[in-house]
Symmetry: C2
Subunit: 108 residues, 2 copies
């Protein structure tokens, strides 16, 4: 399982409408193929900074499947206008999954 970590900075003073839009937008994330779970968190130290954590079954479920889907269009359509620049997005593998993933790559 892959963890998507997206750092999202929103425009100043937009926290309440962004969070309301996010609550509506979540359904489009949940509907994606390979979606497992997600949470959005607000930064304590930096105003207007959020962290979106999404568990995906496989990397491609996010980078290919979701990003190429109408669910992504809907999701971004609802929350994208609040972003102050493009989010920084990276993916992380669990240390416990690593041995398995490396073994699978060798077999593939």
């Amino acid at each position: 399982m892959i963890l998507e970590v997206a750092q999202i900075r929103i425009k100043a003073g937009q926290a309440a409408p962004f969070e309301a839009a996010y609550r509506q937008a979540q359904q489009h994330l949940r509907a994606a193929e390979g979606y497992v779970s997600h949470e959005l968190r607000r930064c304590l130290e930096q105003a207007d900074q959020y962290l979106l954590l999404v568990h995906w079954r496989r990397l491609e479920d996010h980078t290919v499947g979701f990003r190429g889907s109408r669910h992504f269009q809907e999701w971004r359509g609802l929350i994208g206008s609040f972003f102050d620049g493009p989010p920084s997005v990276v993916h992380y593998l669990s240390l416990d999954d690593q041995a398995g993933a490396q073994a699978s790559q060798k077999l593939a």
Copy 2:
């Protein structure tokens, strides 16, 4: 509950010994007052980049309690020498906890 998010960059080529040291060091994190759970993840896009996620009961359990404790000395003693510069550490509040936290601050 607070989520600590630490981005850790390690020295090139040190993944295996760092991960071994981390497996040993975890016990000192788990022993901390206010510790709830944690996981370490390895970045897919950037070599030598890790993400440490730690759930704490309260912010001060991390910033005051843990950092001022012998557990932190032990933890850092085991893994600190692998770091390529100081980790970037921030804290995030769950959106669902926010209303409660704001209410508590007003009452405090």
